[in-house]
Point group: C2
Chain length 258, copies 2
DNA sequence: CGCTGTGAAGATATTCACAGCG
DNA sequence: CGCTGTGAATATCTTCACAGCG
């Protein structure tokens, strides 16, 4: 509540469905691997297997981009690599800033997948004065005070937030005010952003929780009638297990304070 | 192609839709924050705002769990925290191993959100003998040779892979063979796993590419008829931009080799 | 004949809008 | 009267299955 909208409303881009967009990078990676092995063409079946999807889905996805295949043959690898890259906007250079250079921020700075896809780490920013000047992944860390200047000087439109949860919204606001319109958020918080700004979220703990859900299900199926459903009819005045104890700060990833 | 199935087929658990499961952790986090502030009840509207979703969706999500609210009032925070925790399987302890202790692995090991949700880092594993014994986040790193023993001794069913792409499938196979049935994969590769094993993927570079897509779109809308569509009718023998150069190993996050 | 491209069917997910309980 | 819980309407995504091009 307050700062207006929050999530991207499935912007319904040109005509390409969001679900398809989310898979294009997957196809691109598989195609790049083929390209490096100098494979000239692939069938939808082969490429789908390499990307971990089914072939009908892949063909439908590609159909939104245009008719880039050849019936009876398959797809030209190089051609598709180019088309998908272009569609994703990877034929241009995207300067990116990473804010919050703890373990995670450092891992991101070192991540090879960035540079290899048109993303260039323009700057690393941290609130800790002791970090200033220290090189991480060959790039000197700059202090948060410089944030606005860095964004403007480098024409940065994509920002990565890897700070503790408590600092994320504030950093986000500054990034947005300085002109950033896309944010990749690793802090476990919901960010409020104005319309027109995209936020994507990566949350390690959420992924684990989803796994735990399915894991529990599996265990339940095995034990089935074995142990029997012991815990279930809880009185309306709950039981609670591990909610309001533990440290004062909910969910903060223990990266360097920013 | 080869190792059988690949992705989780939307296991369609009890009756709870996958999309709902994916949001439960979000609600849980918001509720935990309220709980810490000793807020006794919330309306769907308030909670939805805190979780960044709309209230109709939230109510529908909760309706799959049961009727835990009170009409005219809202939801009891503590009670809901418990119910969601239980549904997600967080009332039990999940020992987790992290394989690949580079920057990313270390960030994960230090991540507070794990411990706070019933996940316990049972062991850190790395292939580099030089790492063995070195403590990371207070836990001594063990060598890959011990992997099977560690899994069995600790009854681990969830594994986190933070190795370079090249090692991921191999590590995955060993984890699965040793009894792991849920995997969180940070390596930029498609993992093949047998039926019954869940894989979730977190891919930093994919998220950025999705942002770039939308970012490009925004730019395009602004410039609209300005610059005009210059690049488009490319001959079928592509142009390629940045595919087959760069280091020999596609997408590897530059974490410690495993 | 093989494989793409795609309508149409089916499955999921989201949103609306309101009945009905506290 | 306020707010939940939910059928019904809509939107989105996936899968099927096959026409039709190379």
């Amino acid at each position: 509540m307050a700062t207006g909208r929050t999530h991207r409303p499935a912007t319904r881009s040109r005509g390409i469905p969001e679900a398809t967009v989310a898979r294009l990078p997957l196809y691109l990676r598989a195609l790049t691997a083929l390209s490096e092995r100098s494979v000239p063409t692939v069938s939808s079946e082969e490429l789908a297997a390499a990307a971990g999807v089914n072939s009908a889905k892949l063909r439908k996805d590609f159909s939104y981009l245009g008719s880039y295949g050849t019936r009876g043959v398959g797809y030209d690898v190089e051609y598709l690599v180019y088309q998908i890259s272009r569609e994703l906007g990877l034929t241009q250079d995207w300067p990116v800033v990473i804010v919050g250079i703890g373990n995670l921020g450092a891992a991101l700075a070192n991540y090879g997948g960035f540079a290899s896809r048109g993303f260039r780490v323009a700057a690393l920013i941290d609130a800790d004065p002791a970090m200033a000047g220290k090189p991480v992944a060959g790039i000197p860390v700059q202090h948060t005070d410089e944030l606005e200047k860095i964004i403007e000087d480098n024409g940065v439109s994509i920002g990565v937030i890897a700070t503790p949860a408590g600092a994320a919204q504030q950093v986000c606001d500054r990034l947005v005010a300085a002109g950033v319109t896309s944010i990749l958020n690793f802090a476990p918080t919901v960010l409020s952003v104005p319309d027109g700004v995209d936020v994507r979220k990566v949350d390690l703990s959420i992924e684990l929780q989803i796994l735990a859900f399915h894991e529990q299900r599996k265990a339940g199926e095995e034990a089935a009638a074995a142990a029997g459903a012991a815990v279930d009819g809880i009185p309306a005045t709950a039981v609670r297990k591990q909610s309001a104890d533990k440290g004062p700060d909910g969910d903060v990833p223990a990266v360097m304070p920013a």
